[in-house]
């Protein structure tokens, strides 16, 4: 790669690059995102490499291992360009057939194309697949086009054009104006207007300022930022460099959680490439502006997603938050003014600069502009990553994009916002999703986790799960959070154990009020949300646990009772073999006995029985 000495040089290089690329060249893009990688995308890509070689197609067909293609439920996915044929659940064994039929003879491999989980309608091309219809990819747009490790790929798609535009045609003030006018709000969860934050930092009097990218995606059930860092790392860097120019910072940090080693690898490579080409370093594109980026790896603490805790962690301390104000924009890293934005926010910046603030502000709802990436997971048929305009309804996301639930299951709730969010019941399915609407029903946008729950999930158990998580992750600095989560957990455990009382609900609500009003940081302030929203919308479930000592979803073990129906039991002994505590006894070919005293209610017998003789209530 050349070092770009000027904007003209970059322009010229990009033109040559684009001219040298044939838009009709056949390409095989093997998804290597968070969903496909564990399902064997490396092996599929290797099979393609071998098969293309065998058929003399090296050089004629381009093979790329790209970022997340979205529909994780159908891993491993392979996209054939330029036709955009989306093959699904591809294994290495399918590869010779794809090469022979599609790449050599232009025919479809019918058995590998998309089939709707409910209607069984088939679709071969990406544009016809319901999962992709209704999406509006801005942040995810390049993920199924580029090789994340190729700067040329990024440049060919207009990469670093926004940086060029900012450095040559816009003053720092104008950059901040554009971000402000775009209406972009922080995608990490808080939803604070990004432009306003930048303005405060720009106006802070200091020669030293910092930019931080928060890649500590800790919400369980969320993997949007991982997909962006792994699949389009240069977009994050470009956003940060523009941010540095706007506020006058010379150094940036990307804080990535240690569970994401591939994100660290791709970001490091992108940083090296950007330095080599002069997008990072001294005198970037001869503008006189200096900026560099370092990676700081997280060490496994959820609270470090909170900005002041994250800053403490970069400084080398334990991740304890500090009270705000002062906000990091005034006094942050090493006490200097610091802008901290999340991965998705940074990835939006180049697009806003390129396309203009009005373009961005025209997307979305009145107070929430642009799109939002959600990780749609749980009891929904088509799990994966979706990017939709703000204001899309939950129903559209779950039932149209997500393809609904299994026919034998009923929708119960959508959980948004991770441990700080709440459970949204069926009555709000037509709610247009934005920052304010989610807050109005007791949840939050959060970073974009969207977990669908059906009738086999128990909301009391879900509340306990999140409180247990937060109790574990509370840093322990302030009393309301440390003790509040502990006591909420204790009460929920009592309810689940069948020792609940109705007063417990009032007590929990009081505890929640105290925590929300007096905790130091967002973790403690929002910790009550899972409890509050479930008590509000699913009070009946709590009462069933408390009054009737029943868990209708059959989740809370102490309230379950397993029995063996002597009429249907064939005495096959499958359950006996599975039972870890020897609670099931009896002779072969005769009905078995289950000792209630010994039973630990693990449910293994229930799963092992092929005759539905094991009953649970």
């Amino acid at each position: 790669m050349p070092k770009f000495e000027s904007v003209d040089h970059l322009q010229q290089y990009r033109r040559q690059l684009q001219a040298s690329r044939d838009p009709n060249q056949p390409q095989v893009l093997v998804c290597s995102g968070p969903g496909c990688l564990p399902m064997g995308s490396i092996e599929v890509a290797a099979a393609f490499r071998e098969e293309l070689g065998k058929n003399g197609l090296n050089g004629k067909v381009l093979l790329k291992e790209c970022g997340c293609q979205g529909l994780c439920a159908r891993a491993v996915k392979v996209l054939i360009r330029p036709q955009e044929i989306a093959y699904q659940e591809v294994t290495p064994e399918d590869v010779p057939e794809i090469v022979e039929a599609t790449l050599k003879n232009g025919q479809l491999v019918e058995r590998l194309i998309y089939e709707h989980p409910l209607t069984q309608e088939k679709a071969a091309f990406k544009a016809d697949i319901p999962f992709y219809k209704g999406q509006m990819p801005i942040v995810l747009r390049k993920l199924d086009i580029i090789d994340p490790q190729s700067l040329d790929d990024y440049l060919a798609l207009g990469g670093y054009r926004a940086l060029r535009k900012a450095l040559t045609g816009m003053s720092p003030d104008e950059v901040i104006d554009a971000v402000e006018q775009s209406g972009l709000r922080g995608r990490g969860g808080g939803g604070f207007p990004t432009g306003r934050k930048w303005r405060v930092c720009q106006e802070a009097l200091s020669d030293i300022k910092f930019i931080i990218c928060n890649g500590d995606e800790g919400d369980p059930g969320a993997f949007m930022d991982r997909a962006v860092m792994e699949g389009d790392p240069h977009a994050v860097l470009e956003g940060m460099i523009i941010g540095g120019y706007a506020i006058g910072a010379k150094q940036g940090y990307i804080y990535v959680r240690h569970e994401y080693p591939l994100a660290v690898t791709h970001l490091n490579k992108a940083i090296d490439q950007a330095r080599e080409c002069g997008f990072l370093g001294k005198n970037i594109l001869r503008s006189g502006f200096d900026f560099d980026i370092k990676i700081s790896r997280g060490a496994g603490a959820f609270v470090c997603g909170e900005e002041t805790a994250l800053i403490a962690s970069i400084e080398g301390y334990i991740g304890e938050p500090t009270p705000r104000p002062p906000y990091p924009a005034e006094s942050g890293l090493f006490d200097y003014p610091t802008i901290i934005n999340n991965v998705e926010t940074w990835a939006n910046i180049p697009e806003i600069i390129n396309m203009g603030a009005e373009w961005f502000a025209a997307i979305g709802t009145e107070n929430s502009k642009g799109t939002k990436v959600f990780s749609l997971v749980g009891a929904v048929n088509q799990t994966g990553l979706v990017e939709v305009p703000m204001g899309t309804t939950l129903r559209q996301i779950v039932f149209e994009l997500g393809g609904g639930l299994r026919p034998d299951r009923q929708f119960k709730a959508v959980q948004t916002g991770g441990p700080s969010g709440g459970c949204i019941p069926e009555q709000f399915l037509d709610l247009p999703v934005d920052y304010d609407s989610l807050q109005s029903v007791g949840s939050i946008m959060g970073s974009g986790g969207m977990i669908v729950m059906d009738n086999t999930s128990c909301t009391v158990d879900v509340a306990r799960y999140f409180i247990s998580f937060l109790h574990d992750e509370s840093c322990g600095k302030c009393t309301p959070c440390r003790e509040g989560t502990k006591h909420l957990l204790h009460i929920l455990d009592e309810i689940i154990a069948g020792r609940g009382e109705e007063e417990h609900l009032t007590l929990m609500e009081e505890l929640c009020d105290t925590m929300a009003s007096s905790s130091i940081c967002g973790l403690g302030m929002s910790a009550p949300n899972p409890v509050r929203s479930t008590i509000k919308y699913f009070r009946d479930e709590y009462l069933a646990h408390i009054r009737d000592k029943k868990c209708h979803a059959l989740v809370c073990r102490p309230l379950l009772k397993y029995t063996i129906d002597p009429e249907t039991c064939t005495g096959c002994l499958a359950c006996v073999r599975e039972c870890p505590v020897g609670a099931i006894t009896g002779k072969k070919k005769l009905p078995q006995d289950l000792d209630q005293e010994l039973c630990v209610k693990c449910g293994l017998c229930y799963e092992a029985c092929q005759f539905e003789a094991v009953k649970v209530e």
Binding site: G35, A222, H258, E259, R297, T383, M453
Partner: protein, 152 residues
């Protein structure tokens, strides 16, 4: 566990002497040796100029550090929200029974360490178990047992 290749001295040499580098050094030592021994902790403190109390608080605060030797094989059962809803807890129990070790613990012969993690970011494949570097997606008790038996 990979064989230790880098010496502690060469790891230290890669970082300037500044307390800001405490966490990075701990991470590198953890990655290389699979745990942080008292001797290494002291050497790191000397190098970055941080008191042992700070290093101790950091090493015990963050989940990725271990002050005890870890097993040859690491099994991480994901208990993120989706994995929880899809029965991750039963997978932990299966591991506990099969390996004879409680969650968060290492077997006496240092062969296995069983851990739970908050989210591996592979939620679309829940429930997920990581056995060393391999992911087991859409895991059930049968497939997990099969995978574990390959480790013996």
């Amino acid at each position: 566990m990979k064989k230790s290749q880098k010496t502690i001295e060469s790891i230290l040499a890669g970082y300037p002497r500044h307390p800001q580098n405490l966490i990075g050094l701990l991470q590198d030592v953890q990655a290389e040796y699979n745990y942080i021994s008292p001797e290494h902790l002291a050497l790191i403190c000397d190098h970055v100029g941080a008191p042992l109390t700070q290093a101790w608080s950091v090493a015990t605060f963050y989940k990725s550090f271990s002050l005890e030797p870890r097993g040859e094989h690491e099994i991480k059962v994901c208990l993120g929200t989706t994995c929880h809803l899809k029965g991750g807890n039963r997978l932990v129990e299966t591991c506990e029974r099969d390996l004879g070790v409680a969650r968060g613990q290492t077997t006496e012969d240092l062969r296995f360490t069983l851990d739970t993690v908050n989210c591996l970011g592979s939620c679309a494949l829940a429930p997920v178990v990581m056995v060393d570097e391999d992911y087991l997606g859409g895991a059930n008790i049968r497939s997990l047992k099969k995978r574990l038996s390959k480790l013996e």
